[in-house]
């Protein structure tokens, strides 16, 4: 019964979406306030309907209602509650419902918080948001109904893919989806602005926080996914340049560019057409992320719906959405009035360069991901592109960005002096040379990669610190005043510093992991000792036991470091009988200097177990750096200037200065 209510709510949401698209758009064209006013309640109703549908599906999962096909295929009565819940979005149909739920939530947010928005802009934004929803609701209802019944109902479910039964992956998809879908709002705003024919700083003030929120969630989502791959897949890698990873990385890169270009629109009323284009591209890449994962064109660990019919449907949505928006862009964007002028060397100039580099980086990843397909379509030739391609292309593209990252924030708006900015950076330059030189000496000049990596990290970190000391005028005014300035800095300033510093920390982690990892694979029996670097591991025992829906072999290893007891580790190997699938649960001991990573394999015929040990220096820095970027995003979101919104150009405004003048 409840499943039918859910299905009914989805159908209702579809019809609400039709009204939400048509009425406000028509109203805005006719300048009819009443019709435009229809937008907000429609968006609320839409959200309510989808929330009911989502709730119904979740109910089916929690109560293990196996008469619902989707639940039977992806759940199991013995599965822990957390994974019953995460199972809702751990499959194709459920994840699509979650997708439209977030989409409707963002539409609802505009309806609820968009009071200062001009009526017509608000109506159009909500209408476009509804249009995206309409397409995906049609997709769900026609090809991926999550509420289909099974008769007779099976006694128990087929269980969720065990690789996905993990806390990291329970939260990875929702984060990622909020990120993906969050860019829909930037897209809707871009479309609405093109229809209106007007982009002004008030528009950017609205777009930026939503883009920032989406970016923050996307960053967190990508990090969680990478962390999951690191500890769950059991071979110690954290980024594989896998097509599905790239699918989430491309919107991240474009979104990062959008974040920066929106600043220019907001502060300087320039780069309007470019920012609109970026908003379109970012959301298109998000849609493509969905497309890549679902069409079966590219396959990977988490591509759970492999179905050509659905692929074609999404391809259709993608072509209409991207083609339509770019057509609107080609027709309407040339009419946008150009805003403030600026010299090439200026904050704006720096941000333009930032955008250029990030765009090139996006294109690089795009080509690396899709080139094999293009080539196949063109000539029938097959190539495979892997990590070597990305290391050879993406990394060099990013290097100028790192150089710029230290300089850009020191340039003033409009017209800057490159020499003055660079002169401020002499301390960081010195720091960079010391760090790079130190690594060179320590490594005895062997490979150049770590020298470069840590050198650039030092340069970026130095730049951030320099910018901060400039801002609070450290050592130039009394220390107390400097500290007061530091505490009174706007959230956005903290956000920028934290996120940029996070980048430096991340580079250290990635460089350390890539260049200094050491590995040992051995067959060990109980009582055997393994030695890797300064670590000595004694395999105490391996015990077999039973978990809620799996069997496990759990090893106990006593580890000492430099002869001193250091840790006891329990790597596991699990077998999930329902899906007949083994998984590895690595044991990881993290410290600030790196991870000790131990995974255990199947017992061999000779009575031993395969034990793999890695020493992975600085890996925690990768997660720490990414988390600093997320925190930076949150700090920036807390900036009260964003909450207050753009100073609305009140009609009475000209009168206001007159009053103050009289007061003077």
């Amino acid at each position: 019964m409840i499943a039918e209510i859910g299905h009914y709510a989805l159908v209702l949401a579809f019809f609400v979406a039709i009204a939400q698209v048509v009425v406000p758009l028509y109203g805005a064209a006719r300048r009819d306030t009443a019709l435009m006013g229809f937008a907000a309640p429609a968006a609320s109703a839409q959200f309510l309907c989808i929330a009911i549908a989502f709730g119904a599906l979740m109910h089916a999962y929690i109560t293990s209602d196996f008469s619902v096909a989707n639940v039977a295929q992806n759940s199991h009565s013995l599965k822990p509650l957390l994974y019953k819940i995460s199972g809702v979005w751990g499959n194709h149909e459920g994840s699509m419902v979650f997708w439209v739920l977030i989409l409707a939530l963002f539409g609802f947010a505009v309806a609820a918080f968009g009071r200062q928005l001009p009526d017509s802009l608000k109506a159009r934004v909500i209408s476009i948001q509804g249009l995206i929803g309409l397409a995906f609701l049609a997709f769900i209802l026609l090809t991926s109904n999550p509420f289909e019944r099974l008769d007779p109902a099976p006694l128990d479910g087929r269980d969720l893919n065990p690789l996905l039964q993990d806390p990291g992956l329970a939260f990875h998809p929702p984060m990622l989806y909020i990120g993906y879908v969050g860019f829909s709002l930037a897209f809707s705003f871009a479309m609405a602005a093109l229809i209106e024919g007007r982009v002004d700083p008030a528009w950017a003030r609205w777009v930026r926080p939503w883009t920032l929120a989406a970016w923050t969630f996307l960053t967190a989502g990508i990090t969680l996914g990478s962390w999951w791959a690191y500890y769950e897949l059991g071979w110690g890698g954290w980024w594989f340049w896998d097509p599905v990873e790239n699918a989430s990385f491309m919107p991240w890169l474009a979104g990062t560019a959008l974040l920066h270009s929106a600043i220019v629109v907001e502060k300087r009323d320039a780069l309007k057409a470019w920012t609109i284009l970026l908003a379109i591209i970012t959301f298109s890449l998000s849609l493509m992320g969905t497309f890549l994962v679902r069409s079966g064109i590219l396959t990977s660990v988490h591509a759970f719906a492999v179905d050509p019919e659905r692929g074609l449907f999404i391809l259709g949505i993608l072509i209409v959405a991207v083609g339509g928006s770019l057509t609107l862009f080609a027709v309407r964007a040339p009419a946008l009035k150009a805003g403030g002028l600026f010299a090439p060397v200026s904050r704006e100039g720096g941000l333009v360069l930032n955008n250029l580099i990030l765009s090139v980086a996006t294109v690089t990843v795009f080509i690396g991901t899709l080139y094999p397909l293009f080539l196949d379509a063109m000539t029938g030739d097959k190539v495979s592109v892997g990590a070597p391609f990305f290391n050879a292309t993406f990394v060099p593209v990013m290097i100028p960005l790192l150089v710029l990252l230290a300089i850009g924030p020191l340039l003033p708006w409009k017209r800057g002096n490159l020499r003055a900015a660079v002169e401020k950076l002499w301390v960081s330059a010195l720091f960079t040379v010391v760090v790079a030189g130190g690594i060179l000496v320590l490594e005895k000049g062997a490979p150049l990669a770590p020298v470069l990596g840590f050198g650039f990290a030092a340069w970026v970190a130095g730049g951030v610190v320099t910018e901060l000391t400039e801002r609070i005028r450290l050592f130039r005014i009394p220390l107390g005043d400097s500290l007061r300035r530091l505490f009174n800095l706007p959230g956005a300033a903290y956000g920028m510093s934290l996120a940029h510093l996070g980048m430096a920390v991340f580079i250290c982690g990635a460089t350390g992991e890539m260049n200094w990892t050491r590995e040992l694979v051995a067959t060990a029996r109980a009582g055997d000792t393994l030695t890797l670097g300064q670590y000595e591991l004694v395999l105490e025992k391996v015990e077999r036991s039973q978990g809620p829906n799996y069997f496990r072999d759990m090893a106990t290893l006593n580890v000492s470091k430099d002869g001193v007891p250091y840790a006891t580790l329990h790597p596991e190997r699990r077998l999930y009988p329902v899906q007949q699938m083994p998984t590895t649960e690595a044991a990881i001991r993290s410290g600030i200097s790196g991870d000790l990573y131990v995974a255990i394999g199947e017992g061999s015929d000779l009575g031993g177990y395969i034990v793999r040990v890695w020493v992975k220096p600085l890996v925690p820095w990768i997660w720490a750096g990414a988390m600093m970027m997320v925190l930076g995003g949150l700090f920036s979101l807390s900036d009260r200037r964003l909450r207050i919104g753009a100073p609305k150009r009140s009609r009475r405004r000209p009168a206001a200065p007159a009053v103050t003048e009289a007061g003077d």
């Binding site: 071979w235 890698g237 660990v301 492999v306 050509p308 040339p334 097959k382 495979s384 394999g601 395969i610």
Partner: protein, 182 residues
């Protein structure tokens, strides 16, 4: 005018990309079947050395004689891990010969992988530099090919094998090919 063209540029670029995407999908019904120019051609005659000491490698003659599956795998590949239990079951429950080709892998890692997850293959060849894979038309691991008794490639499955794909497509095709051979 030039300005207008500039604004048209993103649309044009998109049209080209969309074309590349759609044309192969629309002309060949099933996008999951990445079109392979190798279908119905003889399997490339590579002589791939053995991975294991006690199991033969894959030479040109190894691909003739009976219907078999040729599976490209690598220890570093996540989806390979996902499909591995299906290969194990196939090896245990049927007498269909499974030929493994270890793709761009480190020997030690591959050995550990097989010991850890089990070895379903009758013979395993090493394609260390990926030359053979290019000739077979492998887009990315895992990929599985049905090769008939005369050594011709008859079917290509991209991505991890699924129980459904086996039951509905691959095994019926194998039966058909066996019957055709008589």
């Amino acid at each position: 005018m030039l300005n207008r063209l500039l604004f048209l540029l993103p649309l044009l670029i998109f049209a080209v990309i969309a074309g590349y995407f759609t044309v192969p999908i629309l002309t060949k019904k099933d996008p999951h079947l990445l079109p392979s120019v190798m279908i119905d051609k003889p399997a490339p005659p590579h002589d791939l050395g053995p991975l294991l000491e006690d199991k033969p490698g894959v030479g040109p003659e190894a691909l003739r004689g009976e219907v078999k599956l040729v599976n490209f795998f690598a220890s570093w590949c996540g989806p390979c891990r996902v499909e591995h239990p299906i290969l194990m079951r196939l090896a245990a429950e049927t007498d269909l010969p499974l030929v493994g080709i270890n793709y761009k892998d480190q020997r030690d890692a591959a050995l550990v992988w097989l010991r850890e997850l089990g070895d379903p293959f009758g013979r395993i060849g090493v394609d260390g530099d990926g030359r053979a894979a290019i000739d077979w038309g492998v887009y990315g691991v895992p990929e599985t090919y049905v090769v008939d008794a005369s050594g011709h490639i008859r079917y290509r499955h991209v991505g991890p094998l699924t129980a459904q794909a086996l039951k509905e497509t691959i095994l019926p095709m194998v039966e058909q090919l066996k019957a055709a051979k008589g």
